[in-house]
Symmetry: C2
Subunit: 485 residues, 2 copies
């Protein structure tokens, strides 16, 4: 740990000098220096407290003492690789497995969601003997080369993006803004049929489907909740083509959705993915993650003859931390809390929707909630600049929220699961005030026939440029680009 206490300006200067400029900071024109955190609160260098509505990684609360203790005690004893037997590894695998359908019984421990999703692709390709992957519009699955290829959310940022010939993008099952909406008689089937069409097209070109991959609920893509039954039908189409279904739970797993431990379970008990990937919340911030699959997929992977070794993955410290997280979720009934507080939050927001024309849609499960802001409820014109203004004004009120989705107009709630109804009351109260002000200003602007998107907002909280509607990074100007690498 650094004993030096740097002046904030010095911290910023050193960061500019020594940290990759592609690594963006929140609120880049006035970033926050956080020095400690606890529960759902973060504190800056002056002692100012911030209510944290965004750090889904600090799943059971920042610096939870049980998790810290478990990690610290194991660090003192042993931290080595899985080429030696250790109880933490197997006990953790057993307890994690117990949260999943029986069929998903074999674990691979790795260090990040990206490592997990990359391994999932390797498993799928080895098992199926196929290569083509179907992914969703606006999907984000990680930052390594193989995952940028299947992440439109990322590769669309590239100036010269080029879709890999083995990657196929299906429409996002978004019943608010997508191709088939809430008024469609059967959006689940309609969206699943789109996947079927892609499979047919791939087959015509002599391609073969290795996998369909989707977040169980799309997060960066705009907090999208797929209609129930969609995954079952997609899985049927994909399996018929010899591929597997990969459910990416990196953002949304571990009880966040409240009713279930895993978000894919929202689709119904009759749906079981072939591969589940985990990440962010699994270690409450400790770098770890996991891929769980079926015995059949695991055996096929082994039959390739290639050993799988991950230096840090599944080490006794990571497993101790992971076990502690699972214990805390149960002990403190955090899944139940996510359900209760999530319902409270959604109900409060629904009331705001009645009041504020800027709110186009409220959607979510448990403590995974999206509030989509629009300038026009019929045209669904994204209220991108307004969403950024909400985020910035909330920051002034010491509340941390973010906006995401392809238009960066979806306010994104994914707080630590110890979030309370009082926290929800506070943030919604502040949003109410900000939206009221904004709507006043908008009317004024309309009256003046001015373009409301021109108000000064140089970049969003992640440093992306805002151009009223669709947000794109520098160098990019259209939704589908050619991917270089």
């Amino acid at each position: 740990m650094s004993d030096e206490k740097l002046d904030k300006k010095k911290t910023i200067d050193l960061r500019k000098r020594h940290i990759g400029p592609s690594c963006k900071i929140f609120f880049s024109h006035d970033p926050i220096k956080i020095i400690r955190a606890r529960g759902q609160y973060m504190y800056d260098e002056t002692g100012q407290r911030y209510l944290d509505c965004i750090n889904n990684v600090a799943h059971v609360g920042h610096c939870h003492p049980d998790v810290v203790k478990a990690g610290a005690q194991q660090m003192e004893l042993l931290n080595t690789n899985t080429r030696f037997l250790h109880d933490n590894l197997v006990v953790y695998a057993q307890k994690l497995q117990a949260t999943l359908p029986d069929k998903l019984s074999v674990c691979y421990f790795v260090n990040s969601g990206s490592e997990a999703n990359d391994l999932a692709l390797r498993l799928a390709r080895q098992y199926s003997g196929h290569k083509d992957i179907i992914t969703l519009e606006n999907a984000y699955h990680g930052h390594v080369t193989s995952l940028i290829d299947i992440s439109p959310y990322k590769f669309q940022q590239l100036a010269d993006a080029e879709l890999s010939p083995f990657v196929h993008v299906a429409p996002s099952p978004d019943v608010y803004r997508g191709r088939y909406r809430a008024d469609h008689p059967d959006p689940a089937t309609a969206y699943a049929d789109e996947v079927k069409k892609i499979i047919d097209k791939v087959h015509k070109k002599d391609g073969k489907i290795a996998a369909f991959i989707a977040e169980s609920l799309q997060s960066c893509g705009g907090q999208v909740i797929p209609p129930a039954g969609y995954f079952q039908q997609v899985a049927e189409h994909v399996r018929k083509a010899g591929g597997v279904f990969i459910a990416d739970e990196v953002q949304v797993g571990f009880g966040r959705v409240g009713t279930n431990f895993w978000a894919f379970q929202l689709q119904g008990d009759d749906f079981v993915p072939d591969i589940v990937t985990m990440g962010k919340p699994i270690g409450n911030g400790h770098p770890m993650s996991c891929v769980v699959t079926t015995r059949e997929v695991a055996e096929a992977f082994m039959s390739s003859g290639m050993e799988y070794f991950n230096t840090f993955g599944g080490n006794p410290v990571s497993c101790a931390v992971g076990l502690a997280v699972l214990d805390v979720i149960v002990k403190e009934d955090l899944q139940g809390n996510a359900l209760r507080v999530g319902r409270h939050l959604s109900a409060l927001l629904e009331k705001q929707k009645e009041k504020h024309p800027l709110i186009g849609d409220i959607r979510g499960c448990g403590l995974f909630v999206g509030v989509e802001l629009v300038r026009d409820r019929l045209k669904l014109t994204p209220a991108t600049a307004e969403a950024q203004e909400v985020i910035y004004k909330l920051k002034e009120q010491h509340i941390l929220l973010s906006a995401d989705g392809p238009h960066r107009n979806v306010l994104k709630f994914k707080p630590p699961l110890c979030f309370t109804t009082e926290d929800a009351d506070l943030v919604v109260e502040k949003i109410d005030l900000i939206l009221t002000e904004l709507e006043e200003a908008l009317k004024l602007h309309d009256a003046l026939n001015a373009d409301s998107s021109k108000r000064k907002l140089p970049a969003d909280e992640n440093g992306h440029q805002c151009h009223g509607g669709l947000i794109r990074s520098r160098g990019s100007s259209q939704q589908t680009k050619r991917l270089k690498t």
Copy 2:
């Protein structure tokens, strides 16, 4: 942490049930259960102590109290992502940078050597605008899809390996067993010319070189020490082609080589890579790693328009741990110890070479030492089974050593840097006894005209099948295979 104390058999059973069967264990027919470790020693569930000659990850010694304390204290305070300012991140980046040539000034913090090498490829491809990568024979750079492609050590294990059209394999600069040997007047130039030839071939096919990547000293590839001057010449050829030089220090960095902090510095002060990747020892077991590059490469990466965000990378806990590791290396002069004990170990082994015909070559720098066993010093017939026998017999003596290289006949020393001259004395004394016995037995076998490779050794310590010479995993039968994915 698991409070349950499982019977060893139960641990093995649960592992079989819930851990991917591709995840191999040391000494699979009788694996070791390690429950604690300290310094250069590991302890099993009965309290039996093992001398650890292989865990380069536990760089400053297992469970070093300073590192444990730094990690535990920071875990209590804050563990969050780099979208907030934090002193640990920038102070660590600054201190890490200070160990490197000035030109290498921009850091990206990630979670594993694999994430680091994948990012290095992305940086190289973005900077150069090119796609082709030159890698070395027997190279290992990581387990994600993009790195399996450039790791002959891995993809040769696949039953149906297929070399990616963008990957080109140059001869390993191995002056013992390679194309140009110690008796060659200028092996550095000869090996560098091979890289030049590849570049010319790629250009003829309208390919363009993005990068040459090599471990500064090949580790899994057989503890290969490239001749000084080789990297300079390769870098010149590669840069002329518009590509960059990536030095992979994941296994060999952080003072292990004794004379220098980084192994690439063994080539001379006139050599500076464009990208350096780090890993294993960086956090003494904590999952973390880093990529350091030049301002030019970093700016080019940013100009793509794509943000780089790594959820866990560079978090305050990882940085606290990394800072503590750097501090301990200095405080305990571990680089100096690596030099002194490494020289002692190499000198002892050289004496063994005079005595034992099975020892073909001793090579190394500091506490990175390889002992290549051969059945015939002229033909260099790999003594694979004998190397495995040494490993197994040392295990009976409670000493952990491994064998690696394409023929798995290179005894591989890479202990924690707190290894002592007494430890070196002990392991060499035991090796002496084992080799004496083995050579007796071999003479007996020769007298009986029996094939010495047929002695019962079902698999090596990593679970690979032994077939006398070249070791291949199940399903593989030739050195260059077609890679499926």
